[in-house]
Symmetry: C2
Subunit: 236 residues, 2 copies
């Protein structure tokens, strides 16, 4: 954990360059720019339950998840936490702060599974950005996408009852699959999913129970099978 020595950095880049290349934040960078950026990169390991940063801490870096899963959440006035986002591997987070005067993280970041991260300096990246107009356009597209994702989440949270929220969640998990009986694994613990949907774990459990009873889905552990796609869609 810490700044890389020069030789390590070269090794590091050879190994992970391709990984980063797949991400839109880095795909538009030239090789030399990417190398330059990586010189300031740190590799971090965050144990399960450990914090990376806390809400209202100064935001100097953004992060790329190599492996594991990070939880971004806000602490509500009553002490409970609201999960804003669960960030799986190969995704970045906290990079949107870089572009505005805001210097505080608006969320806390905690690992829900042991995680490996790359950290990038906001200042370094911004320097690159100023010399690469195309990159700006890519980022604008990215932020715009995120904005629409949030829109979706706001919609989910506004859905009348919890059943609708769960159903909507399941539906989002199977878009793209055109199988008659779509199947997938819950990406995280059920209580975390419940948290994202702003319902209690107990409620989530009961709703799943009912959906199973009605033969709409099956769920064993984290393994979910949709048995009746139409029925699920009609729940909405």
């Amino acid at each position: 954990m810490g700044m890389l020595k020069k030789e390590d950095a070269m090794q590091f880049q050879k190994i992970h360059g391709q990984l980063l290349r797949k991400h839109h934040l880095f795909s538009a960078l030239s090789d030399s720019d990417l190398a330059k950026l990586m010189r300031g990169t740190r590799v971090l390991s965050v144990g399960k339950g450990e914090f990376l940063f806390q809400q209202n801490e100064e935001a100097r870096h953004f992060y790329f998840v190599v492996s594991g899963c990070m939880k971004l959440f806000r602490t509500l006035p009553d002490g409970t936490e609201k999960i804003i986002e669960l960030v799986p591997s190969n995704q970045t987070f906290a990079e949107a702060l870089m572009f505005s005067a805001q210097t505080m993280y608006p969320v806390s970041a905690q690992a829900v599974e042991p995680a490996e991260l790359f950290s990038f300096s906001n200042i370094d990246y911004m320097t690159l950005l100023k010399s690469s107009p195309d990159l700006s356009l890519v980022l604008l597209g990215d932020l715009s996408r995120r904005l629409r994702m949030r829109l979706n989440e706001i919609e989910v949270l506004s859905l009348k009852n919890s059943t609708h929220r769960v159903v909507r969640y399941l539906m989002t998990q199977i878009v793209g699959s055109d199988s008659e009986y779509p199947q997938f694994d819950l990406p995280v613990a059920k209580r975390l999913i419940a948290g994202q949907l702003a319902i209690q774990p107990e409620t989530f459990s009961r709703i799943v129970h009912r959906l199973k009873e009605e033969g709409v889905i099956d769920m064993k552990g984290k393994e979910v099978t949709v048995l009746d796609r139409k029925a699920l869609a009609n729940y909405e």
Copy 2:
């Protein structure tokens, strides 16, 4: 309503150039660029209750509200509508779409008060953008800000009970005022505010009633006075 003739366009720009200049989408443009952009501008009048566009329509333009107020909302599966944003005068909307491949409006737009709008061509603006890296940075900052606003809204929607949501709403209306007894007008009808908070108008009314009873606020029509700032803050 429609494309402007050349003389009108010049007149138009003289009158409204300053107005637009105050908005970050246009503040970084050179005079000539702004003039170029305005050549494709249309002036629209939308009557109360009239639609500007519907969800899933193709998005070719974004808009600036000169006067009046627009409501952006999504229609939920059960037919009810979820208000995403209320756009007052001197603000733009639907501009974030321009930056990503997405070509459909993710919301419907309707006037809640008779509104005058400018419409701008996405393509024209993007052309300017590609030749003005600084503008991109300004926009990134703007989107980043919006992203945080949505974060706030998600948090509000996650608040346990409706009272907290209303209180939070009132608090956001008085930040910036350091008066002992802050005072403001509700920007739109109460039922719309209730909609934004994802509660029923009846519930909103009852909560306000209780807050008045407890001497925390006073409300006559749209006129709100906070009588006990501390008590309001402590409600959270």
